[in-house]
């Protein structure tokens, strides 16, 4: 079938119509033929492409990276809810079966120092001593990957399979759950220490002795304010 589509694309719609008529007539015969599924072809259509690119000049020094693994789980129990003769009802329907899914995902969280506002106020020099006061570190989720091959699910006979939209919704919730726990990871402290490890060798090359270099940060930092969220 696919071969004919490729061979004469102009007549594809017409052919499809005739084939439809023919198949309706031969439906009983075709319904017994399970090998028809094998004739399906997968076509990747590149013509439908939406491109939205936003370019931003920046100056960010990423100093710490955490790889996080999470298994998103969802137990989907069907409930009957409503009002009957003035009474409210809400109960589970286990007889109709439930659905369960576990989605493994990996996420990369990085902490950075934003140097775009770096100015004379951030540098204190006295003789051969230098103190760099760095801006507060920020944390962002830079990437995430769903382990599609290892998704486990159970769908009862009377229930429909998980839709792609439902899967995307669970994955987004899992992502938000990871972002919510960023302040507990301790990545801010790692970012500060690593910033010193990156900057001190560089400043040493500029002619300063290691013991004369001080990298300082603000101390009263609220961990909730350091998370950078994507604009939806």
């Amino acid at each position: 079938m696919a071969f004919f589509y490729y061979l004469c694309p102009k007549f594809a719609n017409k052919m499809r119509f005739y084939l439809f008529l023919l198949t309706v007539l031969l439906l009983p015969v075709l319904s017994a033929c399970s090998s028809c599924d094998k004739q399906q072809t997968l076509v990747d259509s590149d013509y439908q492409t939406l491109l939205i690119t936003q370019i931003q000049d920046c100056s960010r020094l990423y100093t710490a990276e955490y790889q996080i693994h999470k298994i998103i789980t969802h137990d989907d129990v069907l409930r009957l809810q409503g009002q009957l003769t003035g009474e409210n009802y809400d109960f589970e329907l286990p007889m109709l079966g439930d659905r369960k899914i576990a989605i493994p995902m990996d996420a990369t969280v990085k902490a950075y120092i934003d140097f775009s506002g770096f100015s004379e106020e951030n540098v204190e020099r006295e003789d051969d001593k230098i103190t760099i006061i760095l801006p507060d570190p920020k944390v962002t989720l830079t990437s995430s990957k769903i382990d599609h091959a290892n998704i486990k699910k159970y769908v009862a006979l009377l229930r429909s399979d998980f839709t792609d939209e439902e899967l995307s919704s669970y994955e987004r919730q899992g992502r938000e759950a990871i972002i919510a726990t960023i302040p507990e990871l301790g990545i801010i402290e790692s970012a500060r220490q690593n910033a010193a490890r990156v900057l001190v060798p560089m400043i040493k090359q500029l002619g300063y002795s290691e013991r004369n270099i001080t990298i300082a940060f603000r101390q009263d930092l609220d961990p909730q304010t350091v998370i950078e969220r994507n604009k939806e």
């Binding site: 004739q39 997968l42 491109l51 100093t63 990437s143 792609d164 690593n194 990156v198 090359q205």
Partner: protein, 202 residues
């Protein structure tokens, strides 16, 4: 005469009875209608995920200086042609490609002072992380038919290839390099080096 009066009385009583019955039907019907329409029953599910812990698999110190961030959205789709109907899956992927320099590639002689001039040699601009797609942000746009893990994985790979093609262009690399030159020069000037001679290690 009396018989006539009796007849009228019977007719009147009959009419009254019919009226009463009619009123009863109207009000009773309305009462039942109100009761029935105020009833509602629906099958619902809770779409929230369970609260599960997460595990930090690895943590490492990095030194990646980003000078250009390219935030990209790509819509990719796939069609499976069936006998009667076609299956279609359209997903929108989000990613941010970060261009900059890896400070670990900075050589020991990257900064050398020559009189009042500081010579700086920076490593080449590169894509800082090849894992740039935030797949958990992906939106399902159209989903018709059944699709499995390999189909979604194939879409992910295509979205990644498209983003690389779209963003990792010589023009964007030039722009990142230009911004790097401005930022590094400004930073060194703030630290007391008025004359900075910046070169790239290509």
């Amino acid at each position: 005469m009396k018989q006539k009066e009796k007849k009228y009385l019977a007719i009147g009583c009959g009419l009254l009875l019919v009226g009463c019955l009619l009123c009863g039907f109207i009000f009773g019907g309305r009462y039942i209608y109100n009761k029935v329409t105020s009833n509602s029953l629906s099958l619902t599910t809770d779409n929230r995920i369970d609260v599960t812990p997460q595990q930090v698999r690895a943590m490492r110190a990095i030194g990646q200086w980003e000078f250009l961030a390219l935030t990209d959205e790509e819509m990719v789709d796939t069609i499976r042609q069936g006998f009667f109907f076609d299956d279609q899956l359209v997903r929108i992927y989000y990613g941010t490609l970060r261009l900059g320099i890896d400070m670990q590639q900075l050589s020991d002689s990257a900064f050398t002072s020559r009189g009042d001039t500081l010579d700086v040699t920076l490593p080449a601009i590169q894509l800082l992380d090849y894992n740039f797609i935030d797949e958990a942000r992906t939106r399902s746009f159209i989903s018709k038919g059944n699709w499995d893990a390999s189909d979604r994985e194939a879409l992910y790979r295509r979205a990644k290839a498209k983003m690389l093609r779209q963003c990792l262009t010589p023009r964007n690399i030039r722009r990142a390099r230009q911004n790097a030159e401005e930022q590094v020069t400004d930073m060194l000037r703030v630290m007391g080096f008025e004359k900075v001679n910046l070169k790239w290690k290509d």
